[in-house]
């Protein structure tokens, strides 16, 4: 009787272990790559309960959501020799799990590998535009251009780059000081003008009431 119980327990335990080893859950926000001794078997993009061969297949899971990539601040020289501090971000998602696994594997590596790609693309595109175009006239178009190019390059890493946007495009410190000087001069001129005008207004003959 005791031996029977032990047997039953063992069978149940083994069954549980088998189930545990052969089933895995892919969440709604995940995708997975099944590897058989390191050999890619299938890419799973739909969520739910999935099966694998126990102890032989291993599963690599990846995020399916739109992920964040923040580039480092960098100095860019516009085509009119104006210098700009540019900070941009990208949003991407993993679309080719195998390529992603082979090339970068983790989000941190994406930051290290694709980040510089984006940065150089920003330098290239903004370097061909004037400061005025970057800040005012063609910002949207320039960002689209960068995103399109980065998206093309990102395919090699299994990424779809959804968007690249310039977070900041500001003047470096030294230039900012010059801008401040100019703004101050403008204001001083305005103040002087007001003071001069007030004299004119105050002493002008009023042709009213005659």
């Amino acid at each position: 009787m005791r031996a029977f119980f032990a047997f039953i327990l063992t069978v149940l335990g083994l069954a549980a272990l088998g189930l545990y080893a052969s089933a895995f859950i892919v969440h709604q926000n995940e995708q997975a790559l099944v590897l058989r001794f390191g050999n890619p078997q299938q890419a799973i993009t739909t969520p739910g309960l999935k099966w694998k061969v126990p102890f032989i297949d291993t599963v690599e899971k990846f995020d399916k959501r739109i992920l964040d990539l923040d580039t480092t601040e960098q100095e860019v020289t516009a085509s009119d020799q104006q210098r700009l501090i540019v900070d941009a971000y990208a949003r991407y998602r993993i679309i080719d799990q195998l390529k992603f696994y082979q090339n970068v594997r983790t989000e941190d590596r994406v930051r290290e590998v694709v980040g510089p790609l984006i940065e150089s693309e920003i330098r290239r595109v903004l370097g061909s535009a004037t400061l005025q175009e970057v800040v005012k006239d063609k910002r949207e178009a320039l960002m689209k251009q960068i995103a399109a190019q980065v998206n093309k390059e990102g395919r090699d890493y299994g990424l779809e780059v959804v968007d690249v946007r310039i977070k900041r495009a500001d003047l470096p410190k030294e230039n900012l000081v010059k801008v401040y000087d100019r703004m101050r001069a403008d204001r001083v001129r305005e103040a002087t003008e007001l003071r001069a005008k007030r004299k004119a207004t105050a002493f002008a003959p009023t042709p009213t009431r005659m």
């Binding site: 709604q28 969520p47 009431r209």
Partner: protein, 397 residues
Amino acid sequence: MPWTSQGGGGNPGGNGGRKGGGGPWGQGPWGPSGGGGGGKEPPDLDEILRRGQDRVRQVMRGGGGNGNGGGSFGGGVPKPFLFFIAMLLLAGVAFYGFFFRVNPDEQGIVMRFGKFDRWEPSGLHFRWPYPIEEVRLPKVTQQRTIEVGAGRSVIGGQDSGLMLTGDGSVVDVRFVVFWRISPESDSATGETGVEQFLFNIAQPEITVREVAESAMREVVGQSSLQPLLTGGRQKTQEDVQKLMQKTLDHYRAGIKIDQIQLKEVDPPAEVIGAFREVAAAGQEKETLVKQAQTYQDQVTPRARGDADRIVAAAEGYRDQTVAEATGQAARFLKVYDEYKKAPDVTRERLYLEMQERVLSGADKIILDQKSGSQGVVPFLPLDQLQKRDQQQPDGAK
């Protein structure tokens, strides 16, 4: 309230499971972005628990007999009672394994084997225990805020609010974004906002912040300085909101931007003095204009009085002059009438009158042409003659 019913069976087991979002819910794969963790536990649970334990101890002591019971529990506890406790614990665990609570500000998202299965409104709901079903409880009604630009005027600083305007100036902007999980569903894909928020976007807070920074700089870059500082606030807010919404919709982020609120839009600290100077000059101008007007109001009535007086005097003078002239004209006409009657006599008389008038006031020496042939020479110099005349009163005058 659904949770008060839990007081009966499941306190000891449930307390822990509900509290630390990690328990049977398995937050694992989501990381920190997990929207809603466990809800707040009812405040009286601890109290109930403690009271329950006290009662248990009392019962135990009573059962164990007075003699040896004090130090060691369990030794004398009756078996049915232990069984009862175990069942109670089991029931508690089972309850928390099979049911979950959705607060009014939450929405329950049930996933079966990781796949989205159904959503539940607030209340108590059934679920299969982990790992079959998992529940996410995002706070869907909560309005969230993100403040951007709190770094203020620090050049190149973290979260700097400095940005370039379209006319090459720099402005310091601080603003707050009000956003929430979108209550609408995506018209293109049919996904609800909650689904997109949970399953489609990583790190929503960072995303909103970055999109906000980008959008604000884009809008500010297209405006010039003056409207930003003065009248253009409303438009700036609306434009940024629109641009942000457009970008987030493009990401299918399930985020709705309720409002953008510009807290401060100032010139950078370095130049704010100059702006104040302009304001001061404007004030000064107003003051001086006011003062001048006051002076004008004082002076004008007096001047007007003076003018009236002068005009009256002038009119008097005019009347007088005209009357005089009229009189003289009348006299002249009378003389003319006389002249017409006897021209020779009158002419002679006029001539003599005139001579009399002209010569009466002048120094004169009258010489008789016939008296001497030497002419005037003996008498020269004539003015000496006059002096001699004054000494000799018989002079010819």
